[in-house]
Assembly symmetry: C2
Homo-oligomer: 158 residues x 2
């Protein structure tokens, strides 16, 4: 498997990795979800070379995860906003934040806390089955490639 | 921000990226969740150099995401199994699979389908608020660093 071919692999994880499986891309996306939009702000926060940032932002625009919008006329300057496709990555980034909070030795005072504006609660993200609403556990999910099968077709437990 | 320092950044996403923000590491973890355990099997599936695979597997063991278990005596051979810490990455990998299914131009017949053994349904993962059970939307969640606050303390909407 070559890195250049990951985006044509017949696996949805490999294809996602082809788009976002890069350290700086992931941190840029994190910043986008935190409301950062301008090149200078990304650069200030990440403190890495402008070339790396421009390269990753351009790729994210090409992939349709970010769109460029002008915010100034003379000279024209653009900011970067998440598209619907980019916003759909929220569960990936939130799950990473949640894992990092719990498992990366973060001091308690540095952990990211989340407040769900809709219900007002301090919350954690939970990954659940969209059919029954129960938390998804790796050992209770079977993955298989192919077209959808009957929703309740009995299958042997392996 | 330097790559080597990401694991000490005061941000849970950066710390997670430091551990798993590498293309091959993510694909190895995918394979672990699909039940792959042996070096030869990882190598056959990824078809990349043994050095890269050994390097990434060793790092995952050092980080405590995988553990080595002997499965053969003479010569001793080990397989790699997810630890509880590794299994906790399930929401990250599942969210990536789900995004790839929906947004990476996968032909329908190649999409990964998931069956929740507990309820029997073909399912999709959904990221919800653990307090109210509603789906989490990026625009309805405030993130802030620091110790937990009162669950319903009113905060100005920004």
């Amino acid at each position: 498997m070559k890195w250049d071919n990951l985006d044509t692999e017949p696996c949805p994880v490999a294809r996602t990795v082809a788009v976002i499986g890069d350290r700086w891309t992931l941190l840029l996306l994190r910043d986008c979800f935190l409301g950062v939009r301008r090149f200078e702000a990304f650069q200030r926060r990440l403190a890495i070379s402008r070339t790396i940032i421009a390269d990753r932002l351009n790729a994210l625009v090409e992939e349709g995860l970010l769109r460029r919008e002008p915010y100034q006329d003379a000279p024209v300057r653009h900011e970067y906003r998440l598209t619907a496709k980019g916003l759909s990555l929220y569960p990936v980034l939130m799950s990473m934040a949640s894992w990092g909070n719990a498992h990366s030795g973060m001091p308690a005072q540095a952990r990211l806390r989340f407040r769900h504006k809709r219900c007002g609660a301090q919350c954690k993200p939970a990954l659940v089955c969209d059919a029954c609403g129960e938390p998804l556990d790796a050992r209770e999910v079977e993955a298989h490639a192919g077209a959808a099968r009957g929703a309740n077709k009995p299958r042997k437990r392996s």
